[in-house]
Amino acid sequence: MAIEIKVPADLAELAREFLENRKTELALFERFLREKNFKEVARLAHNLKGNGACYGFPQLTKIGDQLEVAAKAGELNDCANLVRQIQDFVQNTKIVVVAGVAV
């Protein structure tokens, strides 16, 4: 099911780039999980938590928060589930540009 995210015009390009970067990052998450490198998973998740909402994706901030907690606890299955949620989100999200500025 497609998710529509409304983004002000002045942020549209940055938001698209941010979403594209998440697609690239998925491969990193998968690699670090295969290597059980929870420290790196937590680091990436921490950044996702900090940046998602400001680019217009509070859902990614929420997943990033949960993923950071799971990675710090070394919960491999939880981490894998949350990475799948990121994948679903980026694959199904469509950015809708609306008039106006971010602030």
């Binding site: 002045d10 942020l11 940055l14 941010f18 970067n21 921490h46 950044n47 938590k49 900090g50 940046n51 998602g52 909402a53 400001c54 680019y55 509070p58 901030t61 500025v101 971010a102 602030v103």
Partner: protein, 230 residues
Amino acid sequence: MSMTSGKSVLIVDDSPELLKFLEKILVNVGITITKAHTVTEAWQAIQTTAPHVIITDLEMAPESGFDFLEKLRANPSYIRIPVIVLSSRGDRSAINQAMGLGAKEYVQKPLDASLILQKVKKLLHSSQFTSLDFKNMPTVEAKVPASIVAGSAGGLQVESPVRLARDSSATLETASLGAMKFDRVPTLRSSNNIAKMNERGGFLNELRFLGLTEEQMRSLEEIIRRWHTK
């Protein structure tokens, strides 16, 4: 012209995406941005131009935002630059530590663009700090009183009412060095990193001798040896 136009903000964060976002919203209101990914980069940046406001993350490596706040507080040139801490840490101990180290505002991530912009504008409005362009600052020559606190054949630690900039030249006129029979006053170069003002209002400046001959070096070692055994 708007109140923010022409003002400068240094942003320190290890996340390139956060730097990019903040740059976008601050440049939109006419603010000039300098970005740093580490405390080392930030420190280098402010040696060139001290900004009107600093925004810094806390959790960075190898040096943290707390380390950066400490360095700023220890340096009289930068202590008055208002700092906003922008961190995902929301615990009381982090907030207390940051504010205790001199941060003016504490904003928790995830970043709220309008909130950070409001804080920046508030500090730019209330700040008395004038941005300093150290790179293009005029140099001055001055004769000031100084006292030798410690010495070795490599250099001297000198207390004076002025803080010497790193790599500035100095000459020392002192009776105790007259015994060295220099044909000229020895030249010294400041190796200061952070010279802190002491309780007497003076600065301890680290000075290195330049171009001493072996004979002068031996003479100096003898003077310092006698000086230490007094």
